[in-house]
Amino acid sequence: MREDGVYAAMVRRGMTRRTFLRFSAAMAAALSLPAAYGPRIAKALEAAPRVPVIWIRGQACGGNTEALLRAANPTAANLLLEVLSLDYHEELLAVAGADAASPLAGLASRYPNGYYAVLEGSFPTGAAGAYCLIGGRPAVDVAREVATGALLTLAVGSCAVDGGAPAAPGGITEAGGIGKVLTGGNFIALPGCPANPSNLAAVIVHQLVAKETMPTDLAHRPLAFYGNLIHNQCERRPHFEFGEFALEWGDQGAQRGWCLYKLGCKGPETMANCPDVRYGEKISWNVSSGVGCIGCHSPSFWGAMGPAYRRLPSPLPFLPNLTTDLVGGAMVAGIGGVAVAHGVGMTIRFKRYKAQDRRAKAKAAAEAASATETPPTAEPEAAAGTETAAAGTGER
């Protein structure tokens, strides 16, 4: 056991061995590992050092911090005071003024063994970064400085990952996520609105225990958390398969806990472990609470997953209230209408040609009769059937 380590800090704060083991088991679960890994994680954590964390917040609502403060297993206290050594976080700092900013000055000399950087919120680059300042400097510059020197950078929350709401269509601050801060790919993305603090803790525990970064997908999201569909883990899934859907908010189906698919749930489109880890001291997540998933763990979800209460976006982005049913239905009805109108036109035209033919034929017959006094030989029926063929011969 090391004196400056995670376990020592926990013991100092009066944590029992039992609680510590429970914490380790929770981490194993969050990492999608079998329960047998709990003791191994505990063993590794005993020897692990605490990590200094610098938490930089750009344009954001603070939801990720809120979620962090309501974390369970580990609780916020566990996480902030024992696993991490959260040296800088604007909302949670006790000090103010120049003292508050001191951890940001001379990061390299202050943390010779390195530190982790956590970025929350988006970073605006419009107006030379003036939309969001930290201690009078553009937030994007501060974040770049911190993230470049870090052992590992975590982009926590959708805003930090891809710009989130401030970067959604219509935004004016030219905000972006970690892509505006770091050029390389050495970071872990934990999108979500908010990201789940259990996942954040698990990333760090994994880093401490396994001494390597978690396997991620192409969008830098750890596969352990973002590798399965919400829909495949949802507690309402049996109602989905049984065709039992809530049709309106608060209707009979909703009261029975039926599936929220028809109310626009994006669970079938979203990769996340919300049904497993849940939020608010592990009490609930939105589908449990009776609102569909809005796909907040998906890339650029403000643009890509809207509208929140409809299954699909409008097929024409500039007319957002259209639905595919409306457009498609109109298209099918239109083609049907054209077919009917065309059919009527063709019938009229057919009759006109027939009448024309009859007149011409009568005329020809009259001429023939006057010329040779013999009746025409061709049967009208047969002639009608072969008129197509006849012409080509004549012309060829």
């Binding site: 398969e241 065709g243 049709l247 698919y261 489109e269 099918v332 083609i335 065309h342 008129e387 063929a389």
Partner: protein, 262 residues
């Protein structure tokens, strides 16, 4: 064919001046063409009905039900017929290279000047500016153009379907090959939107397709409707654009086409 054959007008003036020439049944649609056609028709009907249910479940019980897994069954049949549909489309595509000249991609995809000329003539017919449809043994080139567009739609529907399947199945061979739905611009929602819109495209096409077939059948009396069952069309020998050598690669090929009429 060097020049567009303006000198040949396949527009019979009237039954008064035309001579009566007999027609005979010609074997046009081979078994694989007819089989894939009807398999595709069946699967489009089933896939359309089940797909629209999956899109917006229209059967919702008013009270809890026991053991009637509607959505599960609908999805099961959607997937079964998706396999039938994909294989039929794939086989018809293959047959476009090995089948007879009427099934060949050469007659379906307009790519030669003559073909565009006759395509324009057919468009004139549909817009009331030409009395008779251009007499074809196989597909007319306007229809060919429509099938080219619809075929792109068919492939897109198979691809988006596989992407959605690879998305739901987070493991396995389909996921390995088609697990990149999230890499499509706009994410998986774009894929679903396309899959949904294409459904309506097929419904619209079905209306047009049946209407035109009935129209041409009445107008030409060549039995195009029954030919999709029997394979035989009633053709006035020597009077079709194919027989006159007005389409196709070379006269030899035109000659070869006519060896199939037995």
């Amino acid at each position: 064919m060097a020049a567009i054959p303006h000198h040949v007008d396949l527009n019979p003036p009237s039954e008064v001046t035309g001579e009566s020439i007999g027609s005979m049944p010609i074997y046009v649609w081979e078994v694989p063409v007819r089989a894939t056609h009807w398999l595709i028709v069946t699967s489009i009907v089933v896939l359309g009905a089940t797909g629209l249910y999956i899109h917006a479940p229209y059967l919702v019980p008013s009270k809890p039900v026991d053991a009637s897994s509607v959505m599960a069954s609908v999805r099961f049949w959607h997937e079964i017929f998706a396999i039938v549909f994909s294989l039929s489309v794939a086989f018809r595509f293959y047959w476009g290279f090995v089948g007879n000249s009427f099934a060949s991609w050469r007659q379906i995809i307009p790519h030669r000047r003559e073909q565009f000329y006759w395509l324009g003539q057919m468009a004139k017919y549909y817009t009331f500016r030409r009395r008779h449809p251009v007499p074809y043994t196989g597909h007319n080139h306007l229809a060919g153009l429509a099938y080219t567009v619809v075929s792109i739609g068919l492939f897109a529907q198979v691809l988006t379907g596989l992407l959605l399947f690879g998305w739901i199945m987070q493991a396995g061979p389909i996921h390995l090959l088609f697990g990149w739905g999230s890499a499509v611009p706009g994410g998986i929602q774009t894929v679903r939107l396309l899959h949904n819109i294409l459904t309506f495209l097929f419904l619209a096409f079905a209306i047009h397709h049946v209407y035109s077939a009935v129209l041409v059948d009445i107008e030409e009396r060549n039995g195009v409707l029954s030919s999709m069952f029997s394979g035989y069309k009633n053709i006035k020998i020597g009077q079709t654009v194919e027989a006159l050598g007005l389409v196709g690669e070379a006269p030899e090929e035109t000659a070869r086409e006519h060896e199939v009429d037995d």
